[in-house]
């Protein structure tokens, strides 16, 4: 029989297994680093192959393409950090525009009344999604898939029922349209660059949402409910309120986008928006949001949207067949997630 031996530990009293990370390590541990690298790579690619991409005048167009994705990606990123999913976002923006247009046209009221009714409906759709989710405990995938189909059908049916066609009746000559257009769809030129309203609203929303997520109590709660909802509840975080609030925020983003689309094109096509929900989710995932929640960033989502905008316009400017756009997008998604995974492993190992 062998006797047990005791080896003397070479380590001292203190636990020296953890060394403080260097600056590079801290930087690489951030969720948006993968998207940043991806954005730089895409920019470099199109700067090299597409001469028009280099023209300063096209910056506004590229930013606008990014903003039309990014404004929803703000809400979707927050929601995904909070551990939930929303498939109804694409059609919800269309719903918002349709509600505003039809309310004003059908009841002959000031366009601003329609805008406010649309806001209430959009926030209401978000609140309903969140409430149903918390009430039933079903996965958000199923709940919002249901909402998606309900809204897709209602968009078509109600528009045809009220206006007789698949697009909303024109409201350009109604009271309040001009002032609403000045708020939601203005344009400004800085030198050769034309900046559209949506780009400014997008950037403002990104800054506010990023501050809320990383610097406020509510932000900490969003990480908490996404990371471990039971743990969050056990330490007194109002899980239901936070999650419903996140869906309402997504509703607000849908309203912003819906209003911009309505007042820049004057009509809403009732079949629009289908499929966009995945693009918003892709932007958030490329930006470093985990599908499982509890990790991610708003700035990353914005970078994801920027990659998207650059790709969409870049393919055009490079003279490639635009049919390849979605293929390119799929490759980008895979690359970005792989980079995220690699970077995260590297950062954890440091």
């Amino acid at each position: 029989m062998s006797t047990p031996t005791v080896t003397a530990s070479p380590a001292g009293e203190t636990d020296d297994r953890v060394v403080v990370k260097g600056k590079v390590g801290v930087l690489f541990a951030r969720p948006e680093i993968g998207a940043l690298i991806g954005a730089l790579a895409v920019a470099a690619l199109f700067l090299a192959v597409a001469p028009s991409f280099r023209s300063l005048g096209n910056t506004g167009t590229i930013l606008y393409a990014a903003a039309s994705i990014g404004i929803m990606a703000v809400g979707v990123s927050l929601l995904m950090v909070g551990g939930e999913f929303d498939l109804s976002t694409g059609v919800a923006a269309t719903t918002s525009g349709i509600v505003a247009a039809l309310t004003a046209w059908n009841f002959g009221v000031n366009v601003w009344v329609g805008v406010l009714v649309a806001l209430v409906i959009s926030l209401g759709i978000g609140a309903f999604n969140g409430w149903l989710l918390m009430r039933t405990g079903l996965p958000s995938f199923l709940v919002t898939l249901g909402t998606f189909f309900v809204l897709q059908g209602a968009n078509l049916a109600v528009t045809r029922l009220v206006g007789g066609t698949v697009s909303t009746p024109t409201i350009t000559d109604m009271d309040g349209f001009a002032s609403a257009q000045k708020v939601f769809a203005w344009e400004a030129s800085i030198g050769p660059v034309t900046i559209k309203a949506l780009v400014v609203y997008w950037l403002v929303l990104v800054v506010i949402a990023a501050l809320v997520l990383t610097r406020t109590r509510v932000g900490n709660w969003i990480f908490a409910v996404g990371g471990d909802a039971d743990a969050a509840r056990a330490v007194g975080v109002p899980v239901k309120a936070v999650k419903i609030g996140l869906f309402v925020t997504v509703g607000f983003c849908a309203w912003m986008l819906g209003m911009h689309l309505l007042f820049s094109y004057s009509v809403m096509q009732s079949g629009e928006g289908v499929g966009n929900e995945f693009i918003y989710i892709i932007a958030a995932v490329v930006g470093g949001c985990l599908l499982t929640g509890g990790y991610g960033s708003v700035v990353g989502g914005a970078l994801g949207a920027l990659i998207f905008g650059m790709t969409r316009m870049g393919i055009n400017y490079a003279g490639w067949n635009v049919d390849w756009f979605y293929t390119f997008l799929g490759v980008m998604l895979l690359l970005a997630t792989l980079v995220n995974l690699y970077v995260k492993k590297k950062a954890d190992a440091r």
Binding site: V18, G226, D228
Partner: protein
């Protein structure tokens, strides 16, 4: 426990929590029946029981996750039905769960202040929270180093200590520990037990839930044993020894039965694998060196 003083508590100390005849049914399942329990400040009350004995239900009632369905539950002399964990926390009852209520991807300091964030104006006061978290953890004697690390990468003992330190820092008067040593090694268990004693010395009422009578006896003042949803033992430390506690925990007579049952096993015996006493049937029986190399064969020959 050399400094253990077995003095009785002063007469004027009143219990923080009193449970009388408390029961909880889920439909037709009576998870808990007729439980009496008192938690005094500056003492460790140990709740022992096997898996499924009703320990978790008892904790959930005290923590505000479930409401009891019969009996009375008093906190500081006032009858209560706790509707939420927030209500329990407001009364100074903090619970450290087995899963610790830590979000794995969040940093140490964010977890420490989860749900109780310090703000300056609208924004989080990250600097102050980090300083406080660092101080509180140092007080408990654990060094995390980088407080920005996600909690998921820490050891079980470190996580446990963060959860306990957090509960103590946020003004708990009663702290409920759900099997804090269950998943830990000997040394880490020792660290956690030391903190339990520290919490007691700080005047907290500690409810220590465990299925390990040895751990319970190292720090406990009062012991109750739950079995099939009922109390089967309710005794002060001076009323019983560790052996008695272990025997009670194992079910006294049941342990004797178990020993009788295992009588023929001959604990400590070893069997030569080449000549097993029992032949296992079938082609799947373990064959130790059917595919051995030449080297293996020589070394075996030498042995």
């Amino acid at each position: 426990m050399s400094t253990q003083t077995l003095q009785a508590r002063p007469a004027d100390v009143t219990p923080l929590v009193v449970m009388q005849d408390v029961g909880k049914s889920y439909g037709n399942v009576h998870a808990l029946r007729g439980v009496n329990l008192e938690v005094y400040p500056g003492e460790v009350t140990c709740v022992l029981g096997d898996n499924g004995a009703g320990k978790s239900t008892l904790i959930k009632i005290m923590a505000g996750l479930h409401e009891h369905t019969s009996g009375t539950f008093e906190v500081n002399g006032v009858k209560r039905n706790l509707a939420s964990p927030r209500a329990a926390q407001a009364l100074g009852i903090a619970t450290v769960y087995q899963d610790l209520a830590l979000a794995p991807l969040m940093s140490v300091w964010r977890n420490f202040f989860m749900g109780n964030e310090i703000r300056s104006g609208l924004f989080l006061d990250a600097k102050r929270m980090k300083t406080i978290a660092d101080e509180e953890l140092q007080k408990m004697g654990i060094q995390i180093g980088d407080l920005d690390r996600p909690v998921g990468g820490l050891s079980g003992g470190q996580k446990q200590c963060i959860a306990i330190a957090r509960a103590i820092y946020f003004g708990a008067k009663v702290i409920i520990l759900d099997e804090p040593t269950a998943a830990l090694g000997v040394k880490q268990s020792g660290v956690v037990l030391k903190y339990i004693a520290k919490a007691r010395d700080a005047g907290l009422g500690v409810v220590f839930i465990t299925h390990n009578p040895h751990h319970a006896y190292l720090v406990g003042n009062h012991f109750v044993i739950l079995k099939l949803g009922r109390l089967t033992l309710d005794a002060d430390r001076h009323e019983l020894t560790l052996d008695e506690l272990t025997a009670e925990m194992a079910g006294g007579q049941e342990l004797a039965d178990l020993q009788h049952e295992l009588g023929g096993v001959e604990a400590g015996k070893t069997v030569d694998p080449d000549h097993p006493e029992v032949e296992l049937a079938g082609p799947g029986k373990p064959r130790l060196h059917s595919r051995g190399t030449d080297d293996d064969a020589t070394s075996k020959g030498e042995a």
